[in-house]
Amino acid sequence: MIRFLKNYFTEVFQAVKSLFLGMKLTGYYFTHPKEIITQEYPENRLTLNLSERFRGEVVMTHDEQNEHACTGCSACELACPNGTIKIINKFEINAEGKKKKAIDAFVYHLELCTMCNLCIQACPTDAIKMAQTFEHSVFNRNMLTKQLNLAGSKLREGVE
C-alpha cells in the first residue's frame, strides 16, 4: 500500500515536473522577445540578401552595346525537361554576304519553369544565367511568357 502510494505520488510529481519544465521553456521565450525571428517581408525588401546562386528566373545577359552571347544552338531547349524554352531562329546575311544563324526570339515560359538549372549548365556560351528575382506574381498568365533577348540586340562578336 505504501509502495503504491509512493509510486502514485512520484508519478504525479514527475508528471507535474515535466509539464513545469516545458512551461519554463516557453516562458523563457515569452520573456525574451529578442529571440523573435520574424522577418517582415515587404519592409525588408531593400536589405533582403539572396544568395548569388539563388535560382529565381532565367535571364539573358546583355552588355552595354546591347549584345548577348546566344548563338541559338538550342542546347538549353533540349536540356529543359519541361519545354520551358523555345528558340526561334532567323537567318541573317552578314557583311560578307554569308547566311548566318541568329536568334529571333528566345521565348521563356516562366510558368513552366522549375528552376532546375539544367539549361544554364547546358549553355556552351554562358549566354543565360539565373537571376535572383523571386517576385513573379502577375495578374495575367500571359505575362509569364517572356522574350529574353532585348529588342534590337545582336550576337556579340567572337562568340561562336
Partner: protein, 358 residues
C-alpha cells in the same frame, strides 16, 4: 477617486431623484444590458488579440502587426470580416437547433456575468448563492455545444460534441470541489462575502498547501471546461478539423469563438475571486500601513489584473502542451483529480473547522 462604486451609486441616485422607481429599474436594466454587451465585445477583441500576441511571442514570431500600431485593430478587422460573411447554412442541418446553438452558448456565457464582482460595489446582481449560480449556469453551455454538434449533421461535429459532453460533465466535478473548498473556508456562497473574507490576505496565502492544490485543480478543471488546449477535445483541429463548429461560418462561428473567450474570462474571474481575492487589494494580515497603500490602487485594476494573469496562464498552457487523448482526459479526471480533490476538500474542511488557516 474614480471608482465604479461611485459611478453606479451616483447614477442610481440621480435617476431616482428625477423619476419613479419602475422607470429607474427599466433604465438601469437597459444600461446594464448595454454595458454587458459592450464588455463582451470589448473583452472578445482584447482576449483574441492577447491570445494571438502571447502565442506569437512564445512561438518566437511577431504576431499581428499590420492593422494599426502593433496590429491592435487586427481582431476588429477579423470580426468585421466575419460579420460581413454570408450566413451559410448547410442543406441537411436541423435548422432550428443549428441556428439556436450559438446563442445558447453565448447567452450562457452572458448569464454567468451577473454575479461577477468586477470592482468594489460594482456587480450586476449580488446574489447570495453566487458560487452555486455560477457552477449551475456554466454547465448549460454544454447543451449548446451538443446542440451544435448534433444539428450540424456532420460526423466530425458529432464526435466533437460528444467528447465535449463527456469532458465538461466530468470536469465540473473537480471544478466544483475546488470551489467548494473555498466555500468551506468562508462559509458563504456569496461572492462578495468570499471577497470580504480575504481582507486580511488572499486564500491562496492563508489556506496553506491544500488551497494551492485546490487552485491547481481548479485551473486544470476550468481549462478543460472551457475546451482549451491541452483539453480541446471538442475542437481538436488536427483530429476533428473543427469539432462541433465545423459546419459553422460567419457570425455564428464568431459567436462560438467569442463565447469561448468570454468563458475563459469568466472562469478566470471566478478563480481570481475565490483564490486571489477578486477586487480585494493585496493585504497582509494587520500591516495597516501597507494595506492602506495598496488600497490606493483601484479595485477594478486589482480584479482585471488578477483575471488577466490567470488568462495568461491558461494561454501559456495552450501554447506549451500537446493535447490529451479522450480516454486519458477522462482518466486524469476520474483517477487523479477527483480523488485528490475529494481528499483535499476533507483536509480543508478540517482546517476550516479547527480554524488552522491564518
Amino acid at each position: 477617486m474614480l471608482s465604479f462604486e461611485n459611478i453606479s451609486h451616483g447614477l442610481h441616485n440621480w435617476l431616482s431623484a428625477i423619476m419613479s422607481e419602475t422607470p429607474v429599474v427599466l433604465i438601469e436594466l437597459t444600461l446594464v444590458a448595454l454595458a454587458a454587451i459592450t464588455l463582451f465585445a470589448a473583452l472578445g477583441l482584447i482576449l483574441v488579440y492577447m491570445e494571438r500576441k502571447v502565442a506569437a511571442v512564445i512561438q518566437i514570431r511577431k504576431g499581428p502587426n499590420r492593422v494599426g500600431p502593433m496590429g491592435i485593430f487586427q481582431t476588429a478587422a477579423d470580426t468585421l470580416k466575419l460579420v460581413m460573411k454570408e450566413n451559410f447554412m448547410p442543406d441537411s442541418v436541423d435548422k432550428f437547433l443549428y441556428k439556436l446553438a450559438p446563442f445558447v452558448v453565448m447567452i450562457t456565457a452572458m448569464l454567468i456575468l451577473a454575479p461577477m464582482p468586477f470592482a468594489q460595489g460594482f456587480q450586476i446582481w449580488n446574489i447570495n448563492i453566487g458560487v452555486f449560480y455560477v457552477t449551475a449556469i456554466s454547465s448549460i453551455s454544454v447543451i449548446g455545444v451538443l446542440m451544435a454538434g448534433w444539428a450540424s449533421n456532420n460526423k466530425y461535429s458529432l464526435l466533437g460534441a460528444m467528447r465535449s459532453g463527456a469532458q465538461i460533465v466530468s470536469y465540473e466535478l473537480s471544478a466544483g470541489f475546488a470551489i467548494l473548498s473555498i466555500v468551506a473556508l468562508t462559509g458563504s456562497l456569496n461572492l462578495n462575502d468570499i471577497i470580504l473574507s480575504q481582507q486580511d490576505g488572499w486564500w491562496i496565502f492563508k489556506g496553506h498547501i491544500p488551497v494551492w492544490i485546490a487552485f491547481v485543480i481548479f485551473m486544470i478543471a476550468v481549462t478543460a471546461e472551457t475546451n482549451r488546449a491541452p483539453f480541446d477535445m471538442a475542437e481538436a483541429e488536427s483530429e476533428l478539423t473543427g469539432g462541433f463548429h465545423t459546419e459553422y461560418g460567419g457570425m455564428r462561428f464568431a459567436l462560438f469563438f467569442l463565447a469561448e473567450y468570454i468563458n475563459i474570462f469568466i472562469v478566470c474571474g471566478i478563480g481570481a475571486t475565490l483564490f486571489f481575492g477578486g477586487w480585494m487589494p493585496f493585504h497582509i494580515g494587520h500591516w495597516e500601513g501597507f494595506n492602506h497603500v495598496m488600497d490606493y490602487i483601484p479595485s477594478s485594476i486589482w480584479f482585471f489584473g488578477k483575471t488577466f494573469f490567470l488568462i495568461f496562464v491558461i494561454m501559456w498552457f495552450r501554447w506549451t502542451f500537446p493535447r490529451l487523448r479522450i480516454d486519458q482526459l477522462l482518466n486524469l479526471e476520474w483517477k487523479y483529480l477527483l480523488p485528490i480533490s475529494l481528499f483535499n476538500l476533507l483536509l480543508i474542511t478540517v482546517i476550516a473547522i479547527k480554524g488552522w488557516h491564518f
